[in-house]
Amino acid sequence: MRIDGKGSVDRAAPVRFRFDGVEYQGFKGDTLASALMANGVRVVGRSFKYHRPRGVLTAGSEEPNALVEIIEDRQQTPNVRATVQEIYEGMEAKSQNRWPSLKFDVLAVNDLAAPFLSAGFYYKTFMWPRAFWERIYEPLIRRAAGLGSLSGRHDEADYEKAFAFCDLLVIGAGPAGLAAALQAARAGADVILADEGVAMGGRLLADSGQIDGKPAGEWVRDVLAELGAMPNVRLMTRTSVTGVYDGGTYSALERVGLHVAARPDLPRECFWRIVAGQAVLAAGAQERMIAFADNDRPGIMTASAIRTYLNHYGVSLGKRVTIFANNDDARQTARDLMAAGVEVAAIIDARPDAPVAEDCPVYAGAEVVGTKGRHGLTSITVRHRGGDMQIETDCLGVSGGWNPLVHLTCHMNGRPVWDASLAAFLPRAGAVPGMHVAGAAAGVFSTAGCLTSGAAVAVQALGVLGRKAVPMELPLAENAGYDILPLWEVKGKGRAWLDFANDVTTKDVRLAAQENFASVEHMKRYTTQGMAPDQGKNSNVGALAVLADATGRGIPETGTTTFRPPFSPVSIAAMGAGGRAEGFAPQRFMTSHSASVERGAPMIEAGMWYRPSYFPRMGESTWREACDREVTMVRGTVGVCDVSTLGKIDIQGRDAARFLDLVYTNMFSTLPVGRVRYGLMLRADGHVLDDGTTARLGENHYLMTTTTAAAGLVMRHLEFVAQAYCAGWDVRFISVTENWAQFAVAGPMAKALLETLVEVDLPFMGCGPVQLDQVAARLFRISFSGEQGYEIAVPARYGEALFRDLLARAETMGGGAYGMEALNVLRIEKGFITHAEIHGRTTAFDIGMEKMVSAKKDCIGKGAAARPGMVGAERDQLVGLRPVNDVAISAGAHLFNPGTEVTRVNDQGYVTSVGYSPTLGGYLGMAFLRDGRARHGEMVRLVDHLRKIDVLCEVSDPVFHDPEGVKLRG
């Protein structure tokens, strides 16, 4: 119910939303949890295993029970915490883990079967027969257990990622965080203040305290106004800092658009990477439960949550509330409720010496031993002075004390320290370099203490940052002590819940200990305690206290499990924001792209580049028809192909020749100016890195080409060799790949075509500048097709125009464009290698190029390539293959000697490239065959089990077409 005069929701702004198909009304500023409670909705979900009805337990991101699905047009988001989700007009939410309805859930039968469903039950129960696990047990269990469901569609909504930098990151904007931010900001430091709430203020907004004699909210407003007006301060609300990483890097998740209906371009969430010089952790503390029989009924919640809903949202779930606590703090809940006119039936205080002077009955030294009410609490049983009594109540606030939120201090392997007086774990000093902990996160629970500690750590941080702190007067605030009597569990009959989200009871923990899963890490995995979406925030300390009790060890000896990022759930979509399509990999387009697309060429990905597969013509119904025609065209007339994607590296300097001699196996210092040479490059381990042609443009000026695939790799390699081994050499290089558009013109009529454009007077493997109208171009006489071939390069701005021009000229001569498919067939016919052959495990010897490793000089990889095992008959060597029948063969197939069994030990090699050769009228393959060069003319059996191919092939030299190179030179 709503409480008049309380809370900061906007009563003038009603918001309609639906939950499980029923329309409700809340107000602007409500979370789904507060709005449902205001409407008297108590059951909001069903528990994970036993399908028990559950209500809201907390008022924050740690909520284990109130997990719902948010349904949108194209979106279905499971496991949304109703305590975080703000309502908006038209919002549609659905409860989870129930069928057919929240009120009547068939699987609630599990609750009756609870004795059989204890920890580890599926390890024991579903063992036999073994085959049943995958087909029967697992699907069954998955359906029975589990949380929300997904839409089954791709998440195509917008998510964002962003980077931020600051001197000081303040995590949490409660009193400690606000004081720290103010102290640092006034000293001129760049401050980011991040808080997971919608409004900043932390518990100052949830409690009814005063600062400087005014309501605390007014002080918060003043501080935020001051901070907000400073250019060196960035306030980030709805932002949870989720992880701590090396070098002062923090991750944070901002809920950007989840509180409004989806709108175009508005990201749902933003995943921040924040780099901070120093950080202040002021994340506060979280109230914990006490385990007692049936402590999971709807209507039972933390005492502080009741206070938050009352003071911040103006809502009380109960009309007649009871409080069960072991500390002073929970008293404030009772006082606030009574002041707001809500009846408090009793305070049950576990401490025998607890003060009893309140405006309601107080039972000191008492415990709650049982509860009643299937769909909502109706009464509790209290044990007091040896006797039990029933108290009618519809809402019980529980406080087992407070756990400082030490999580972020543990993300770099830090372990928290047990403090017996606070009955809590505290951060270990220096656990994260550059992080200071203040306020309740450091175990300082009073408001005055928080303010002081926040300001003090900010001064420390400023010192490290080299900034002078400005003296700051702190306001007057509550400075009460914190008296607590540790109470983890009320022993007795019935199940007492520790982990609400994963349905783990004290019994399960004791069973784990009994079965010798006594280490806290083993207990966690055996019982699944702490493995739900709340990651044990509500149960870890209680569970390990029960484990400590069961094993007879103390809490500090028992220790905690490992805290890992994220602090609170982060959607994968947010972490991967911007990682689809272009954001996954840039799309690289050649200058000829539109011209190719206009001609209907399917564009295929070659690394990041998009290259035309083939250029279909009228009447062609398959890619093969187009490919065969293009191959025949190049062999018969002339073809044009964009080869701009090949890496081009401009190399200059007096030591350029010497440098090339070092990186290539063969000699480039002897290459005459105006000539091109094919070069082979090895890795340090002697395997082939890349190949390509390099032209000598001038005495101290070379132009290297690399394969498309290895352009970046080669650049990195050249940089390494130059910087590591060639200190002081006069050699400079830079990529010019992007600056030049380069087109292969190949075929018997290539020269004739080019002569219509430029002067063509080059010997085979010659190069030189040419003038193309007003444009300075470069012409190379090189061939990757085996035909008379040229490559012409122009500055990229002219690329598209030249491509169109070349095509037009080629077409008048009976030629045209050819794509990657034809290019591949042409080079296979000619036995030219690509990275299908130099795939990282082959040597110069393997590809038959060992003679290219100059004996006259050193080169990278030379020694390694000569090692035993890198050369010899035992190596798989490059050969050509032709099937004896006219059947298709496949790359990836393996080779066997005829008559041998097709098993791994008989493997003789593998096929790297295949293509149908219209020139030779059959399939051709390139393969690596054991001792292959000595086996030309032999038969091998080619087997591909995947494609069901089994055929005899004749082994040959890999060069099928024009082995003498007459056409090339002609």
């Binding site: 990483y245 002062g248 890097t249 780099v275 340090a684 390494f720 200190a727 390694a864 090692r867």
Partner: protein, 99 residues
């Protein structure tokens, strides 16, 4: 993780490419198989300080020797390979099997 490039300044790890131990800087000559083996394969795996090669791929294209701690993840500094990688002082140099 952040690395301070001697030329570009402090940068995010994502701008760099990792290669391996600084042992790669000592290139063996000729056909001394043991030296080649050590250069390519033999590495210490210390819990503590290491000197590794990183490439500032998305930056100035410098190769760097980065000194860091494999236990605490602390990065102590980075020096240019082209300068001999010396600005971190030679005292940290820990040679393994490589002769």
């Amino acid at each position: 993780m952040r690395i301070t490039c001697p030329l570009c300044g402090p940068r995010d790890r994502r701008e760099f490419y990792y290669y391996g131990s600084e042992d790669y800087l000592t290139r063996p000559e000729g056909e001394d198989w043991d030296a080649i083996d050590a250069h390519l394969h033999l590495r210490n795996n210390p819990a503590g300080r290491v000197r590794d090669l990183w490439y500032h791929d998305m930056g100035c294209t410098s190769w760097l020797v980065v000194t860091r701690d494999t236990v605490t993840h602390e990065v102590f500094g980075a020096a240019l390979v082209a300068d001999g990688g010396v600005s971190i002082s030679a005292k940290m140099k820990s040679k393994g099997g490589a002769a």
